[in-house]
């Protein structure tokens, strides 16, 4: 199946999806955060797509928005798709957890919470993964400042 055919299938599920292949080796789709969980579930459960392997989950700060990038692969069919979701709320960013779809998301969402402060609904054990619980701020955000510990060039 070509990327165009994957786009046709996924695009028929909702009108609010934005596809782009520019400047990336994968097919990218940006979802509104309200539809994140339902679209992800369909990506996994639609037999002709079968995206069963979440091989990378990246937290992201685009400057204005925060968000998460999901790199997905279908093991048997070897298709790839990249799902992006953004939220403009920097004070209290909340997204839905996908860890009951791909269980690997549990640890990776904890990592995103740790470094970007994005909370995940329905996550079984949301806490800081690496930093101590009393750490102030979210270090991978672009507006994070720590004059004592950061070497800035």
């Amino acid at each position: 199946m070509t990327n165009q055919e994957i786009q046709n299938i996924v695009g028929s599920w909702s009108e609010n999806l934005e596809f782009t292949e520019e400047a990336s080796q994968f097919l990218n789709v940006t979802l509104p955060k309200e539809e994140l969980y339902s679209i992800c579930k369909k990506l996994k459960e639609t037999p002709e797509l079968d995206f069963d392997y979440l091989f990378c989950l990246t937290g992201m700060d685009w400057g204005k928005e925060l968000g998460v990038i999901y790199h997905l692969e279908s093991i048997d069919k070897k298709y790839n798709i990249v799902v992006k979701v953004k939220t403009e709320d920097r004070e209290n960013p909340v997204l839905d957890s996908v860890c009951d779809i791909w269980r690997t998301a549990e640890f990776h969402e904890m990592e995103v919470f740790d470094f970007f402060g994005i909370k995940f609904n329905n996550h079984p054990n949301l806490k800081r993964l690496f930093l101590p619980a009393e750490w102030d701020g979210f270090p991978l955000r672009k507006d994070y400042v720590d004059e004592a510990n950061m070497v800035i060039k």
Binding site: C56, K78, T104
Partner: protein, 372 residues
């Protein structure tokens, strides 16, 4: 009377800390175990004791500097980590490296994998109480480290790759010493089998312990020998060939049992396959330049780049989001260790504490790779 006995011998769950300085954890990993007697009820992991914020440092550094940081993630696969960053930068700049570079990178990657699996074999035996394995493994691993030292000056954190090729050409002795090592190790690897593989105690400690199904392996994002022992053909060298892997014949080691013994056998077979790959390449290293010139200041074009490589522990992914400047806007390492660690709870609940140690040994954790 019966009630009295019940009251007197009633058990209750309690917490116990394993680590962060536990000899069986191979690094500073803290597990918080909920146990009932010796049965594990829950495993909670506490990470970050060796977290160095490599991803944040990458946003500050140039692309040449980033390569050096990756050594310190999975230090047993340092060459392969370097290669991942170099490949993604070369891919972004649309540089084609010479055939010579591709072949040398592949040979050294496989030597790295051999050295890593040797160390794993040694400590895997040690975790299960067989101390001799450690000395056998280190005797042979030393020879690989000597080859590395002669070619690039370092034994562990090698920094041999740079974007565009290799730091310098191979040492004149490299080909001969590698061949000598292969001849030597072919007689020693069967000794590994004689010492441990058929050992009754070892089999009882590993067979049927820590069983992971194929579905769970995929869902937990497992990769490397952990995934392949559960029947999940995850090998990046086969699925998305890079460097010279598309021109060599080797078999992907796959088993379906999913237990500790299967993970053990997969790694033993991978050592044979690695030697097979090296043998196919070592006599035919193409002539050519060992570097393709790049600009002193590397600026990746605007866009997103992703590269996957197969380290000794599984799939390492490098995601770079570039805005066209000399630093990445965001760089993410998808480390194989973190995903593999996340399934430790799944395979350990209901087992005994001794089996947890065996499970950790068979997953082959390297903590700096997890913490980054």
């Amino acid at each position: 009377m019966e009630q009295l006995t019940k009251d007197r011998f009633k058990t209750e769950e309690y917490f116990i800390n394993m680590g962060p300085q536990h000899p069986a954890a191979h690094g500073v990993l803290r597990l918080i175990l909920t146990i009932d007697g010796e049965i594990i009820k829950d495993v909670d992991t506490d990470l970050g004791y060796i977290h160095r914020s490599i991803e944040k440092m990458c946003e500050r550094d140039s692309y040449q500097q980033i390569v050096h940081l990756t050594d310190r993630m999975d230090y047993l696969s340092s060459h392969i980590n370097n290669e991942a960053v170099c490949l993604v930068v070369e891919n972004g700049l649309q540089i084609e490296v010479t055939d010579r570079v591709k072949v040398i990178r592949t040979i050294i990657s496989e030597l790295t994998r051999l050295a890593s699996h040797q160390l794993w074999w040694g400590v895997n035996g040690m975790d299960l109480g067989a101390l001799t394995t450690y000395f056998y493994a280190f005797r042979d691993r030393e020879k690989i480290n000597d080859i590395f030292e002669e070619t690039c000056g370092a034994r562990l954190t090698m920094n041999y790759n740079i974007p565009g090729g290799l730091m310098f050409d191979i040492h004149p002795n490299f080909v001969n010493r590698t061949k000598e090592f292969i001849t030597h190790f072919k007689t020693k690897l069967p000794e590994y089998d004689r010492l441990l593989t058929g050992n009754v105690i070892f089999e009882k400690r590993t067979m049927g312990i820590g069983v992971l199904s194929r579905e769970a392996a995929i869902s937990y994002g497992a990769s490397g020998p952990v995934a392949r022992a559960s029947g999940f053909a995850s090998d990046v060298r086969k699925r998305h060939p890079y460097s010279a892997y598309d021109r060599v014949n080797f078999e992907e080691a796959i088993r379906t049992e999913g237990d500790n013994y299967a993970r053990y056998k997969v790694r033993i077979q991978e050592m044979w396959e690695s030697m097979k790959i090296i043998e196919q390449l070592i006599d035919n290293i193409p002539e050519g330049e060992h570097q393709t010139k790049t600009n002193a200041v590397i600026k990746l074009p605007k866009g997103e780049f992703y590269q996957r490589v197969e380290t000794a522990r599984g799939e390492l992914g490098v995601y770079i989001n570039s805005t066209g400047t000399k630093n990445p806007y965001r760089l993410k390492f998808r480390s194989p260790g973190l995903s593999n660690l996340s399934l430790l709870k799944h395979i350990s609940v209901g087992a005994k504490i001794g089996d947890l140690v065996a499970n950790m040994a068979s997953i082959d954790l390297v903590i700096p790779d997890i913490d980054r």
